[in-house]
């Protein structure tokens, strides 16, 4: 299955290769748009007091593409059909400082660009079937606790909520 899922309005990519940060702006550029908002997540050096050397990302890719597509469609429903949305998530091994997720939203006005970008990253963190195995300087590794999918379906009503990270 290809790692790229794209249509006119959104592009979703799960990649073992490094994320090119210019990709979101290039996909989202449109002469109709006056605004572009983006979010980049990096591997940070310290997590919960432990020195981190890197993160290995794993995903159930078919379902992940489905979930990310749903999130993009929800963002369009909430913030406007005129959006263009780019989502790329890194898989495999990463090191401190590497970009791990890139979200970009192009829109006519800044409000919907910023709000849709925030919506997509928050929903991705809560719903996308992606897991991270964190590696520490002392040689230990551990799966990072996350958000439970098993008890209720997250709805659009929760947009704007923020997590601990």
């Amino acid at each position: 299955m290809p790692d790229l899922l794209t249509c006119d309005r959104h592009q979703i990519e799960l990649s073992l290769a490094p994320i090119p940060l210019s990709a979101a702006a290039e996909f989202c550029h449109d002469d109709r748009y006056g605004a572009f908002a983006s979010f980049v997540g990096w591997v940070r050096r310290v997590n919960v007091g432990r020195l981190v050397t890197g993160i290995t990302y794993q995903s159930f890719q078919p379902l992940c593409r489905t979930v990310l597509t749903e999130i993009c469609q929800e963002a369009e429903q909430v913030f406007g059909q005129e959006l263009r949305i780019y989502v790329q998530h890194r898989l495999g091994e990463t090191r401190v400082g590497d970009p791990t997720v890139l979200i970009g939203v192009g829109a006519i006005h800044r409000d919907e660009a910023c709000e849709a970008c925030r919506y997509v990253i928050e929903e991705l963190k809560h719903r996308a079937p992606i897991w991270k195995l964190e590696h520490y300087e002392d040689g230990d590794s551990g799966w990072v606790p996350g958000n439970c999918l098993c008890q209720e379906r997250r709805s659009r009503d929760r947009r704007g909520s923020t997590g601990p990270e």
Binding site: F60, L63, I130, G146
Partner: protein
């Protein structure tokens, strides 16, 4: 009716399937996602208080197109499913 399901385990639950291989499992139908998790715990001889059993409790079941929460019935037509522990993307 009993069916055989092939399970792929992700994240911290990868420890349930040696060397990351898909895990076959017999399941009595009809079954909810919660029933499936009970069957997995039984098949893997998990102690109720173990870390893996607790992680299994917090996990959902997935197909390639949707997530099944505890109360959802697993369709009899599905033969390949995924065990989805709490997610931590981003």
């Amino acid at each position: 009716m009993t069916t055989t399901i092939t399970l792929i385990c992700f994240g911290g639950l990868a420890a349930l399937s040696p060397e990351g291989q898909p895990m076959p499992l017999e399941l009595d139908l009809p079954a909810t996602a919660a029933d499936l998790k009970v069957a997995i715990a039984r098949a893997c001889d998990l102690m109720p208080d173990s870390a893996l059993a607790q992680l299994l409790q917090k996990s959902a079941i997935g197909s390639e197109t949707r997530i099944y929460i505890d109360s959802d019935l697993i369709p009899a037509s599905l033969s390949h499913l995924a065990l989805l522990p709490p997610v931590s993307g981003g």
